[in-house]
Amino acid sequence: MIVFEKPKSMTEAELHYCPGCTHGIIHRLVAEAIDALGIEGRAIGVAPVGCAVMAYNYFACDMVEAAHGRAPAVATGIKRSLPENVVFTYQGDGDLASIGMAETVHAATRNENITVIFVNNAIYGMTGGQMAPTSLPGQVTQTSPYGRDVKTAGYPVKVAELLSALDGPAYIARVAVNNVKNVRSAKKIIQQAFQNQIDGLGFSLVEVVSACPTNWGMTPQKALQWIDEKMIPYYPLGVYKDKRQEGEASDK
């Protein structure tokens, strides 16, 4: 009896991510949700520009490659065209919280009925480790070589808190994938974010605190530890908004 195996809605393609990069875990959680809900045939994913730019090779459902930051807009177009399909975006922190901030905020405030998987690893990985909108104060990166100076580079963006202040979005949560307990909790919340779309509740975003061993300059194990020591204190985990709890009838 199989206890654990690779999800069906992942393709056979080998992931190009660095050793210990937790993008792979997040991909699996998304694929597990798609399998569990039996929606691979209905799902359409939108890949970002960033480390996950080739996600269209990894998910077995129909995929679209969006311009940097524009995935929520592309997903909006797809969802408006095909309301019966389950449309999701998979985006990094530069993609969603920097160049794509307007698309993110407006898709949320429209309560667009899509699911957004937002990977926050506090760095631009694909381009070799530059400061991201979620890089922590003092964090050393290629473009904050002396540590992020809040006086000149400002403060990190807390996306879950930011979006949950809006009336629009149905479901905003933040999870992490740096240990078994957190991964298992993330799995449930990611599946809920897809379930919400099926139920027509509207915009569901899951911010996933993730590791980047290569550009953090750490071993994979140290990176997961750093998430506990530095990332989670700045980005507390939890469900920040849930219209099901608030008893609001689905306004979709």
């Binding site: 009896m1 199989i2 206890v3 654990f4 195996e5 690779k6 999800p7 992942m10 080998e14 992931l15 991510y17 660095c18 050793p19 210990g20 990069c21 937790t22 993008h23 792979g24 875990i25 699996r28 240990n179 078994v180 991964v183 298992r184 061993p213 071993t219 994979p220 194990q221 997961l224």
Partner: protein, 68 residues
């Protein structure tokens, strides 16, 4: 009998499974290099496995299948 199998040539030797295993029965095989040029993870004592799947849960590359 719990059984853990690895797609050895897809393993990137990150070691996250090794540190996740509560029974400490996983290790990186320093004697071998896989197709990707990494030391792949292996089970050192299959009998002690409790099929908790912690290893597979933490594996970023879906290399591990766990059976009970």
């Amino acid at each position: 009998m719990p059984k853990v199998t690895f797609e050895t040539d897809r393993c990137k030797g990150c070691g996250l499974c090794v540190s996740a295993c509560p029974k400490g029965i996983l290790a990186l095989d320093r004697e071998h290099i896989n197709k990707k040029g990494h030391n792949p993870a292996v089970v050192t004592d299959q009998a002690a496995c409790i099929a908790c799947a912690f290893c597979a849960t933490m594996c970023p590359d879906m290399v591990i299948t766990v059976e009970k």
